[in-house]
Amino acid sequence: VTRLLSRLLSLFMLASCIPVQDAATGAVNSQVGDEAVLGAGTASLLFAPTGRATDVLVDILGAQLTSLDPKDNCIGTDTHLQCLLGDVSELTVIELTGVDVSAVVTYRRAGELRLEALTVGQR
């Protein structure tokens, strides 16, 4: 029993190390994947996180960019917009028009320090 307990204790201690935790997270994510999505719709970009995402920032480059966002989350010019969405826990739509548009979203999954990044059409 003592041996079993000491083994369990060792396992718990090892699992509590940040590098081990991070490696485990990476391994799980590499198999399961982060299912968050940044997509393009009609005159809009859509960000759908899994669970709650924090510090959500959508960076948009293109031409003739016009923000139609009623909440006025987006600031910038007609070639570069940045939309600060803050905490997001459900599908969020950013209304805008433009041509040759590309976008990158960076965010943290709730409770995690590491920043994640997605581009349009990637998951």
């Binding site: 590098p19 548009v101 590491r114």
Partner: protein, 150 residues
Amino acid sequence: MQSLGNWFQRRPQRAFYAFRLLLYVSFAIYYGTAIDPDALLEIAAGLFGVALTDALGTGAAEKQTVPVVTHDALLEMSTAGETGAFVAELLRAQVSNFLPGATLAKAVAAVLPSVGLLLSQSLTPERQREVTAKVHEALRGANLIRRVDL
């Protein structure tokens, strides 16, 4: 697995030594990455350059374009350790989705998570905005990102 168990059972202290060794290695990674993030960034940049060249195939133009953009983007922002690590982490995430097989991404992923985890926590919202924009520009300049009309 059974023979490994037997090996430990014959000499119980081996299990202790092995566990202690694992702890030392873990701490070395943890504190080593905290001490000199720029050095790790250089290693990561080197990995990107070499492995991207291998992964992108035979086109000479491709071989030159992408590693240069990636390397410059990394080094340009390596003045602050946390920013550099964040950029490297971002690029790792991005590149892993463009490379078939993603051998490079796996190699870099093995090096970078501790750095990103340790240092990205101090990234201010202003720096996040700045760095995200620069990475976006670098990806767009290298045609590594999809473009759409809205």
